[in-house]
């Protein structure tokens, strides 16, 4: 164990210069169960926890995790939380668990996770560890027989922009960054130790159908769909708000530009007159004039995130609708017979 760890650290050290891109997140079954348990028990409250594991080349192994207690606003309790984290990591190290933070997990409701907070947390983690991943689990989707686990990271180009806090249209164009490029989803691979696999094979019930199949074949998907559409409508509202902000900004901008033009025109005719009269010319720029003060451009981050959410809801609705199709045809066939 120690041997392989040492080797992997060596490898990491050796490849520090050319860090290979993260390809796969390999999760232990134990971690998945822990995440599910934590998220489900405290649902509908949204919870988080820390992921521990190893960073091996282009694979990030998540070998253990522990939950965070639900956070309070109280500062004292926050300090308590930090203590808890240290204590937990120390304890886990004593029983030989990899004590290397590789990211965090959090639960979400219908995939509404793309928020500024997530990005902030990610940036915080990223400062301390080079490679970090966020695992999102959606307990509401499990009732449909889907394991809604997602591994996400922020794209490099987005992080660079975020560090400079620069979300003007010009910068975005320069980087050619659009809303699809904010988050990168990394494929998840589930792995189990040989011992666990052996146990599971033996213990697994020998039934041809599982609970999962029942859930999947459930015909009533409408509540899920309706909630999705509700969220979608909310997002649309938000988006149009953002849009109004932009329109306001552009209206102001064009008004300012026409004012500038008018002022310039006036100055020029004045200068012509002065030239004719042989007087000294006035400068064509006047920084003290308020109409030359640049109007701050609103950040596009919010609208990007909302767009991301919308696309997320659309995908979910799409998926559910697709499933309903199959189910309906199946139902129809059953009924005709």
């Amino acid at each position: 164990m120690a041997n392989t760890m040492a080797r992997s650290f060596l490898q990491v050290a050796a490849t520090e210069e050319v860090a290979p891109p993260l390809r796969v997140v390999q999760i232990e079954g134990l971690v998945i169960l822990k995440i599910i348990k934590h998220c489900k028990e405290l649902s509908p409250a949204l919870v988080t926890g820390q992921l521990l594991g190893l960073d091996v080349g282009s694979v990030l192994e998540v070998t253990n995790c522990f939950p965070f207690p639900i956070r309070d606003e109280d500062e004292e309790i926050e300090a308590d939380g930090a203590n808890y984290q240290l204590e937990m990591m120390r304890c886990l190290r004593e029983v030989n668990v990899d004590n290397n933070t590789v990211g965090w997990y959090q639960s979400t409701l219908l995939g509404s996770f793309q928020t500024v907070e997530l990005i902030e947390t990610f940036m915080n983690y990223q400062e301390n560890i080079r490679r970090c991943v966020c695992i999102i689990y959606d307990p509401s989707k499990s009732s449909q027989g889907v394991l809604a686990l997602k591994a996400l990271k922020l794209s490099d180009s987005f992080m660079e922009l975020y560090r400079n806090n620069n979300f003007t249209g010009e910068k975005l164009r320069e980087k050619n960054l659009s809303w699809v490029d904010i988050f990168e989803e990394i494929p998840i691979k589930v792995s189990n130790s040989a011992l666990i696999s052996a146990f599971m094979t033996e213990l697994e019930a020998d039934s041809p159908v599982t609970q999962c199949d029942f859930d999947r074949l459930q015909l009533s998907t409408n509540p899920f769909m309706e909630r999705n559409v509700e969220f979608l409508i909310e997002c649309m509202d938000d988006l149009s708000m953002e849009q109004q902000k932009f329109q306001f900004y552009y209206r102001n901008l064009s008004r300012q530009q026409s004012q500038q033009q008018a002022w310039l025109q006036k100055r020029r005719t004045e200068n012509m007159a002065r030239k004719a009269a042989g007087e000294e010319l006035l400068p064509e720029e006047d920084p003290s004039n308020p109409i030359f003060k640049p109007i701050p451009e609103p950040s596009r981050l919010d609208s990007f995130l909302i767009t991301n959410q919308i696309s997320n809801y659309c995908n979910q609705i799409n998926g559910v609708a697709g499933q309903s199709f199959s189910k309906l045809y199946l139902m129809k066939a059953l009924h005709e017979n």
């Binding site: 134990l30 011992l195 019930a205 799409n318 559910v320 059953l334």
Partner: protein, 347 residues
């Protein structure tokens, strides 16, 4: 000589009618701890967390390993560690308390009594779970015990471990961890449907065999099958057609709508970037298109005649839950809702 102080030989507690339930996470965690045990250690032990259900069943939901040292005649347990870890776990989930302890290995060994005594001080009547990680019998054995102490008066003589029934609920583990790759929506659906079809085929074949006298009929199975068939509600063909078509249209509409919305958003984002185009206007167009699609669909009532290659029997096997669960009342309201949505966006 009369004994003034009658000493009685007795077992305490006398009744042990408890059973235990184990969450798969516990088994996973124990296996993981065993894999990560220190070099010289032969077994790992640790604390079990959970709760006692009202009916006396011990529900074991969580666990953590506790470092320990074992020699032939004594056992040293890291009690500090145990308490620290317990504090941490209570912070996250105050409802989970100590219910017992686990150890790897087959059955109960000598040192177990000592550890069990320690846990008896933490909780009354702890459960001892053993997980045989060595497969010493060639098969898995996960067992739960409670201890009954044999005492003479106030003096304790011995402890006896009694095995109690254990319920392994593996639903969740089955659901998640035995796959290499997480299936997406449709892949999972396909797998489920294939299994359903196979089941129906099986039953069909069984019924045929019985009818043709190749297999002796079994009344129980027959009743099961007829129950399942009866559980499909009777809906008149026209009503059912309408139901199916309505839902189909709904799905079609939603897919069309959101496909266009997505591709539209994507395109626009690329060309617009920075020039603040009129997004709302484009959305209006998108959704009107979708609305028109929807209307067309409703008008032609596209008779969806695709069939699945399915055998002509509509039964499913033993204990299969009827899948018919169409919420009729919902269906009636939703199309209206859809239009409201579209209108909403039009405004």
């Amino acid at each position: 000589m009369a004994t003034s102080n009658p000493t009685v030989l007795q077992f305490s507690p006398s009744s042990t009618s408890v059973s235990a339930k184990v969450h798969p996470l516990v088994v996973f965690n124990i296996c993981d701890c065993y894999v990560r045990r220190p070099d010289q250690a032969e077994r790992v032990i640790g604390t079990l967390l959970g709760s006692v259900l009202p009916d006396g069943t011990v529900d074991i939901r969580n666990s953590y390993a506790v470092p320990h040292n074992e020699s032939s005649d004594q056992v040293a347990l890291d009690i500090d560690y145990h308490h620290n870890m317990l504090q941490s776990h209570l912070k996250v989930n105050p409802k989970e308390v100590i219910v017992g302890w686990f150890s790897t290995g087959f059955g109960v060994t000598g040192g177990s009594a000592l550890i069990h005594e320690f846990y008896s001080r933490e909780v009354t009547n702890p459960v001892h779970l053993t997980v045989d990680t060595g497969f010493s019998n060639g098969e898995t054995s996960i067992k739960a015990f409670v201890s009954v102490s044999l005492s003479l008066g106030d003096q304790q003589l011995a402890a006896q471990f009694q095995e109690i029934p254990l319920d392994l609920r593996m639903v969740e583990a089955e659901r998640t961890t035995m796959v290499d790759k997480l299936p997406n929506d449709l892949e999972g659906m396909e797998a489920s449907m294939e299994r359903l079809l196979a089941l129906i085929d099986d039953v069909y074949k069984y019924v045929d065999d019985v009818v043709e006298g190749r297999i002796a009929p079994d009344n129980n199975i027959g009743r099961f099958i007829s129950d399942t068939v009866n559980s499909i509600p009777k809906i008149s063909p026209s009503a059912f057609d309408r139901l199916v078509n309505d839902t189909l249209n709904l799905c079609l509409l939603e897919m069309a709508e959101f496909e266009t919305a997505i591709s539209d958003l994507r395109d626009r984002e690329r060309e617009r970037m920075g020039c603040g185009g009129n997004e709302v206007f484009t959305l209006v167009i998108t959704f009107s298109v979708a609305l028109i699609t929807y209307k067309c669909n409703r008008l032609c009532q596209c008779p969806s005649q695709a069939r699945l290659p399915i055998s002509s029997s509509s039964v499913s096997a033993n204990g299969f839950k009827p899948i018919v669960n169409i919420p009729m009342d919902r269906l009636k309201t939703t199309p209206k809702k859809r239009q409201i949505l579209s209108l909403y966006i039009l405004i």
